[in-house]
């Protein structure tokens, strides 16, 4: 860990920069004159300095070079319960979606919420962002949104006679990309680097993004008017895709009762700090993955690639993300090791949006979900089937 690492992370309201070289700067408002709107409380001005490309501060590093503390089980459970409880207070009847969103956050992935308008995609994203005490920016994607609006731009400062970097909307802990498939492909792909490498490169300078960093994108189904489908490469960068679905009857009635007068978001207060989240992430990273689980994960990936009903199987990156999501699931379940059940739980959400059906399978009514379910139902969990003699070999 380089001592010169200068990671600037700004939390809502208070600076939590602990790095020695941290310096507070004037706040730059992220309010765009055009389409970019940053809804959260304005960022306290801080200068984003370019970062040496040694990757410090990201991998395994917590906040500002300090390894975040690993939480014990009780505290982890406590924190996760607080987050989930807070979300569930706002969004009725979507506990699964909430849990998956938290899973993705803890697994350091990005979340794609896909559904028809008006089922609470943005609400879920916002609630998750507000529950955690961290910076949030929201980008409303429109066809004329420019890449520089997302990443930031260097502006010539006449007083100091040099270029200054004005960070874009992506410089936040949680970035809500609303209706991401309405933007042009160029702008969509501007997110690619940020999402995968947690850094922004403008004019040859790379700027490190904060931790935690999570993009929560929402999109309408591609049949909707004025949408550009996300390219496969970008879809592959989202760890999981959730379809919200309509709430059930009771939840909908309750929603009508409680949310008439006030916005539910108004009551949401942060329940955990960003450092808590970082510690939780570190805890998730400590979850043990046995060889059997790795074999099982790889077997799933190979099965999708070998399947006759799929044109495109799961990529190695998707398997990596599958395993990370499984680790987060295990941690949320209060375990320090991954079970096959964890992998199975998240497999559909993690893999379904990456695989592409064969034309024949698509025309016969298969969905990626159903194909995945079929693969999981036929794939042996343990490599030696039950009833084989092999298992008893070391008994004697």
């Amino acid at each position: 860990m380089s001592g010169t690492a200068k990671v600037w992370v700004v939390w809502n309201g208070q600076a939590a920069s602990t790095g020695g070289a941290a310096a507070k700067a004037e706040g730059h408002s992220m309010e765009s004159k055009r389409q970019v709107t940053v809804e959260s409380s304005p960022l306290q001005g801080e200068a984003y300095s370019s970062l040496p490309r040694d990757g410090a501060g990201l991998n395994g590093a917590g906040l500002n070079g300090h390894r975040p503390q690993v939480l014990d089980q009780d505290r982890f459970h406590d924190a996760s319960e607080r987050i989930l409880g807070s979300i569930n207070k706002v969004i009725d009847g979507k506990a699964d979606a909430a849990k998956l969103a938290l899973t993705v956050l803890l697994a350091q992935g990005h979340l794609l919420l896909e559904d028809v308008p008006g089922v609470g995609k943005t609400l879920l994203a916002k609630t998750l962002a507000r529950t955690v005490d961290c910076t949030v920016s929201r980008i409303q994607f429109t066809p004329d949104l420019l890449p520089s609006d997302v990443t930031g731009v260097s502006i010539y400062n006449q007083s100091s006679r040099q270029f200054e970097f004005r960070p874009g909307a992506v410089f936040a802990n949680i970035v809500i990309g609303d209706e991401i498939n309405r933007a042009s492909a160029k702008t969509q792909s501007a997110l690619l680097e940020c999402m995968e490498e947690h850094q922004v490169t403008v004019d040859g300078h790379s700027y490190q993004l904060g931790l935690p960093f999570m993009v929560v994108a929402t999109q309408n189904p591609i049949e909707m008017e004025g949408t550009y489908p996300l390219p496969e490469a970008q879809r592959d960068r989202f760890m999981a895709r959730i379809s919200m679905g309509y709430p059930d009857k009771e939840a909908e009635i309750e929603m009508l009762e409680t949310h008439q007068a006030t916005s539910p978001l108004a009551q949401v207060t942060p329940v955990v700090t960003a450092s808590d989240v970082a510690a939780m992430i570190a805890t998730v990273q400590q979850v043990h993955v046995s060889t059997a689980i790795k074999e099982y994960t790889v077997a799933i990936g190979r099965a999708t690639r070998d399947s006759a009903r799929l044109r495109l199987g799961a990529s190695p990156r998707s398997l990596l993300q599958l395993l990370r999501a499984a680790k987060a699931t295990a941690a949320l379940d209060g375990r320090d090791f991954v079970l096959p059940d964890d992998v199975v739980d998240v497999a559909e959400s993690v893999l379904a949006h990456r695989i592409i059906l064969d034309r024949k399978a698509a025309s016969s009514g298969d969905t990626p979900q159903s194909v995945l379910r079929g693969i999981l139902a036929s794939l042996p969990v343990a490599q030696d089937p039950p009833g084989a003699w092999r298992r008893d070999r070391h008994a004697v």
Binding site: S290, D336, G387, V396
Partner: protein, 833 residues
Amino acid sequence: MTTTSHRNSPASNPAGGTPGRKQPTAPSRLRTAGPGPYPWVMAGSISVAVLGSGLSLNGVLRGWAWFMPLITTVLVVSLTLAALRALRAQPLLATLGSFVSLAAVLTFTFCRQDSLAGFIPTTGTFTAVGRLIKRAAETVVSESAPVAPNAGIVFVVCACLGLLVILIDALAVPLSMPAASGIGILAVMVVPATIKPQSVGLAGFLGAAVGYLLILGCSHWFAPDARLQSGAGRGAGQFRRSMVTGGLALALTMVVPLAIPGFETGTFPEGSRLSPWGTSNGLNPMITLGNSLRSPTGSGRITYATSSSAPLYLRSVTIDHFDGETWAPDDRTAQRRAGADRIETGYAVQGEVVNAVTSVSAGQFTSPYLPAPFAPASVNGLNGRWTWDPDTLSIMSTETTTRAQRYVVFSAAPKVTAAALAQATAPPRSISDDFLRVPGNLPDIVRQTADSVTAPAGNNNYAKALAIQKYLRSGAFTYSLQAPVQNGYDGNGLSVLADFLTVKSGYCVHFSSAMAVMARAEGIPSRIAVGYAPGRLTGESVALVGQGSFPEYEVDARDAHAWPELYFEGLGWVPFEPTPSRGVVPDYATESSVAGNLSTNTDEKETLTTPAPVATAPVPIPEVGTPAAGSPGVNPLPAIAAAAAGVLLLVAFLCSPRLSRIALRRRRLSVKPRDDTDDLPPGFKDPAPELAWAELQDLASDYGVPSTSSETPRHFSSRLRSSAALGESGGLDDAAHQAVASLTADFERQRYARLAVAARAAAPRIAVVRESLRNNARWLVRFRADWLPPSMMRRWARALGAPFRAVGALGKAVGWGAVRGWRSLSGVLPQRR
């Protein structure tokens, strides 16, 4: 029948419109072409199949003369069917027409005189058919294969195979079950398989197989369904499947007989022929004699001790009735007399009489005829009612058998010397003319041989008999039990005789009947005696009442023998021995005795009377057949031991699933979890939870909740807990639920966690789960789990299937390799285009 036929047989579509609609590929062509060659090809295939399987009947029926009418019948019936199909007759009509044609062709072939216009059956035809069937039944009952192809038998064969053609056709065409037509073909082959010692034979098998394949191929090729699917149906997968199936069947056929021991005893030992009367108590002893001689172990052991100074021939029955087809015993029930304690010959004997007393123990030998030395004067000690025939002196009973009889025979044979025989030139007076009867259709070769052989002997009957015997015992003839079977003349009819004189190889039945017939042809009364050649000394001695102690002899089925007896006026019936290397040639019948050597080898040591005619050299009888000396059933210990071992094996077999299941459980649960985790090597995993988990899975699958390989331990555990097998949680079975949960947790931790934490011992928890499963299961499930645990059965099935899977995988790999090699080769080769 009619409803299904429209779909599958173009021949049965009256208008050809239906196939047109069902085959959009070529409707116009079919409509104009009609059924095309299909009926004719199918008829040809069926004919080939039936005639091919009929080939195997050679050996059941003698020669090939019967095959011509068979060909006629089969061809007429199948061509009728084909013609009716080609004319688009209704399927039912076609079948009816075939019946009519079968009746016509049978009438034409067999009952032409009794019918109208040669082929239309009348009432007279039916009586003729009745006669034929009766004749066939008699042949079946009284003869052994190969039987002479008389009209009755050939009629039955033709009728059966004609019906078979109709049956196969009905199965293959209107019912569209061509594969089932194999049943009919098998039905034909069952007959030779059970009757002929060499079973079906290559020709019959090949013929039947080729015909069957033709039927299958024909229906596959012409059936409209198959033509519709021709793109997909005849793909590489199908070929591979059929190759794998065929290869597997072939491999099984070659492997399984190696594993199954041949059965040499019992009702049907290997190579035995079906005889409804058992092996040694036949209605016609001539028929069963060959079987007895061929039997690998000598059964029906008889022991006897005699005061006669030489080993005796034991005589069961005489065969004197020769109707031209076969020799058969003539029971003459009318003139049989009751009471065997006093037996008188029906003819006068001059000169000395040799008396002997013989004690016989029949043991397991079972026959209605009593074996006794010739000529019995009285038999004592018999159980049951026995009768005797004054003409033949055969003693038989209609209500009991020889089984377990012990009796003493006083016999008095006339002292026969060569000189006396030479002088006995008087024509026979005191016996029936039956013994001289020769059928009119005696083959020329028999009469010619008899004449040429006896020509030098002049007019003396004795010299003639000696000449015939000398001829048969000459080096030109060989003794063989197998030659008659292989050459298809194993029997005793006239044509058999002709074959025997041509091939010059056979066994006692052939030699004795040859001599008997030739003697009759030369005017000497003759008959055949069936019984036992002198046997072997057992080494023990038996005391006869009032006679002292005599050595004991034994004979069994392998000593079964037949020899001719010729009648000489004044001396009575005199036995001869024409069979080379068997039995003992009597003194008077040796060549030297003709020269006037009147002295017999008298041995007056302890005989009570004048000496009997003894053999020139009482050498041990050369054994024929296998050298299995010990007769089974004498020593009961091995049988008891074998039975006990069999029972033990059976019990062990029945118990083995349960026992191995228990052993497996013990072994799994005996592994104790490690308590001290400190001194363990890194990466060590305690096997105990895994074994306990395997046991839990097997336990669940025994009680009807099998695990699948694609479910996670947690999922399996929750499925088990929610199933009815474990009862309800929170109730009586709560302990079991908790045990399952903790076993699952242990296993998950052991398998997936970083450190295997020392677990509690699994045995008590497994016991709790098992108890709960047992209590909630019905008795049938409990019984199955105890005695045929499904988990164990699955293991064994896997183990048994392993070689086949390996073969399959190997075949697949080889096949793929070949395909790949061919592809790369065809890529390298220059393309024609």
